[in-house]
């Protein structure tokens, strides 16, 4: 290797780095202001005993964190989050993929399906909460009516600690599946058309094309979708808060609803911040470890 080559290499690296810095600068500034600063201030607040509004705060060091580690309510909430996470991944992603595949097969003829399937994602939690509360009412609700039709009795899904979480998960899946549908539709279009053409020429049926060619090409998208669903369900808040408020008992309590109650409802901002901090650490860990595992597997193959 001569010197000229090396200098070109260095120059290239330098220009790459310069370009990267320019491209990343706006994101860096925004994240610093709107994300890093709140995170750091949360961690600082978590070392105080503070009602959230008073000028006086009492520095208590790690006391909130020690309480958090011993707090069974928090760990129950985390467990509930994990249940949501697993079921969300298992339900939303395959379902979203199936819907996207159907649309991809049907191309333009199926636009009406596409639009209507998309609607759940558009609906506000207020409307969803209201309608499902009535649909699930033990007496006279839709589920009970269906159950009675088949000779069963009334079913109390939301009021029963054993079924409340699963019921809300079903509604969450109903709401977010369209997102994965759109996501996979975009992923399908990302597969170059000549790949499909080549498969056609080789005489592959649609089914063969899907299973042998498209699906493997979609694996990276599925991995990303899994991470998205994971993070989304670990910090989930909306519908649970609207529909059950974490009850009955602690059966649907989530980390986010627990944190919200501590911070804003019971004037325990210091402890609420510790919950938020714990939540942040747990989610990040779970997400990064999963990413490591998923990418590690890719390298083995």
């Amino acid at each position: 290797m001569n010197e000229k080559n090396i200098s070109i290499l260095v120059q290239r690296q330098r220009s790459t780095r310069r370009a990267a810095t320019i491209f990343l600068a706006p994101v860096a500034i925004l994240m610093m202001v709107y994300i890093f600063y709140p995170i750091i201030s949360t961690f600082i607040t978590s070392t105080y005993k503070w009602n959230g509004i008073s000028a006086a705060k009492e520095m208590t060091g790690l006391e909130n964190w020690i309480t958090l580690i011993k707090d069974t309510s928090f760990w129950i909430a985390f467990k509930n989050n994990l249940v949501i996470m697993v079921l969300s991944i298992v339900i939303q992603i395959p379902l979203g993929l199936a819907l996207a595949t159907f649309l991809d097969f049907g191309k333009k003829k199926l636009t009406i399906f596409k639009v209507i399937w998309f609607i759940p994602l558009l609906m506000s939690s207020v409307a969803i909460g209201f309608l499902f509360t009535y649909a699930l009412a033990t007496n006279g609700g839709m589920i009970s009516t269906i159950s009675k039709f088949f000779g069963g009795g009334n079913i109390d899904l939301l009021g029963n600690p054993k079924t409340a979480l699963l019921t809300v998960i079903a509604i969450i899946c109903w709401q977010f599946t369209p997102f994965y549908m759109v996501y996979f539709m975009a992923a399908f279009t990302n597969i170059p058309y000549d790949v499909f053409e080549a498969a056609r020429i080789d005489g592959a049926t649609r089914g063969q094309y899907f299973w042998r060619i498209a699906l493997p090409l979609l694996v990276p998208s599925m991995k990303s979708a899994a991470i998205l669903s994971m993070v989304g369900s670990l910090k989930y808040f909306d519908l649970i808060y609207v529909m059950t408020g974490g009850g009955p008992g602690t059966s649907t309590e989530l980390m986010a609803t627990y944190m919200y109650k501590q911070s804003f409802k019971t004037f325990n901002m210091g402890y609420g911040s510790a919950v938020a901090g714990g939540m942040f650490i747990l989610i990040t860990m779970v997400a990064l470890i999963t990413m490591k595992l998923l990418n590690g597997k890719k390298q083995e193959v």
Partner: protein
């Protein structure tokens, strides 16, 4: 049927005929099953929407007495009239402005950031990517107080412009995450050939990468657009006068301390949802087509 054919016809011809027929039957059966399931899911997806619209035509007492899932007694447009007479127009306009500005900013900034993360080889790429993923896990509620403070000291409090910063910022982690994975899947050869042609990184970004990421950008536009349109927490934390409120707060006029006027709320929600459906129809179709064309060219 099959056996009679088996006996009477030449075996090889028969076999091919048979497989073709079998395939055809198989195909019809598969499509039939798929179609039934698709229609089922169509119902599941649309019923809540249908009931929302139905209840928006009812009177408050009527809805409670005859039940939420019954047909309205008459096609009563009074709720819509009342909603539209109120501040709905100004809420709507505010929402449109906030959405347009935030969405364009967000998509551009996110695309800028995703490009080096997906396509450059530099040492900090992995840690920065990890950091951005970590930022996805930030619970929104812990940011309310800091963002409120900042908006207050920047003099932005109680204006719709205060919403743009947080809307863009909190859309970034997920958008960068998705776009990076989309950009990673663009074949390397495209870039290499462009580089040989003497394109620098910026030309490459605007001329090659950005057009090729259209489907990813469309997904993000839809996802973030819906989120921003329905966003609630920042909207009420950062505004206070009614002329600066966005659509999700429009339901407030019908929510009291001890009771709410649900049919009216349903009317508001229906009206807020329609523009999103229209946008989806227009947006989704065009951008996906654009992408396929681009890919073929590439």
């Amino acid at each position: 049927m099959e056996r009679t054919i088996d006996k009477n016809a030449d075996r090889t011809v028969d076999r091919t005929m048979d497989t073709i027929r079998k395939n055809k039957i198989k195909k019809v059966v598969y499509w039939g099953i798929a179609f039934v399931l698709a229609v089922f899911w169509l119902l599941v997806s649309s019923l809540p929407f249908v009931f929302m619209v139905m209840n928006s035509f009812k009177e408050k007492f009527e809805m409670l007495v005859s039940g939420v899932f019954s047909l309205p007694a008459a096609l009563n447009l009074n709720n819509y009239k009342e909603v539209l007479i109120g501040n709905f127009g100004s809420y709507f306009l505010n929402s449109v402005i906030v959405l347009a500005v935030s969405l364009i900013l967000l998509l551009f900034i996110a695309a800028c950031a995703s490009y080096p993360l997906a396509r450059f080889r530099f040492k900090l790429a992995a840690p920065i990517y990890a950091l951005i993923v970590a930022c996805m896990s930030i619970p929104i509620h812990i940011t309310l107080i800091p963002v409120f403070k900042m908006s207050q000291s920047a003099g932005l409090y109680d204006s719709i412009w205060a919403l743009i910063g947080p809307y863009v910022a909190f859309g970034i982690p997920i958008s960068v995450f998705i776009l990076t994975s989309f950009m990673q899947q663009i074949p390397r050869e495209i870039e290499e050939s462009a580089e040989i042609d003497g394109c620098n990184k910026f030309q490459m970004f605007f001329q090659m990468i950005l057009p090729l990421s259209k489907s990813g950008l469309a997904t993000l536009a839809i996802y973030n657009g819906v989120n921003m349109w329905n966003e609630f927490s920042f909207a009420y934390t950062l505004t206070q006068s009614s002329e600066n409120r966005t659509l999700p707060l429009a339901v407030w006029e019908f929510q009291g301390q001890y009771s709410m006027n649900t049919p009216m709320i349903m009317a508001v929600l229906t009206l807020s949802l329609l523009p999103m459906i229209i946008m989806f129809i227009l947006f989704q179709d065009k951008l996906v087509k654009g992408m396929t064309a681009g890919a073929v060219k590439g």
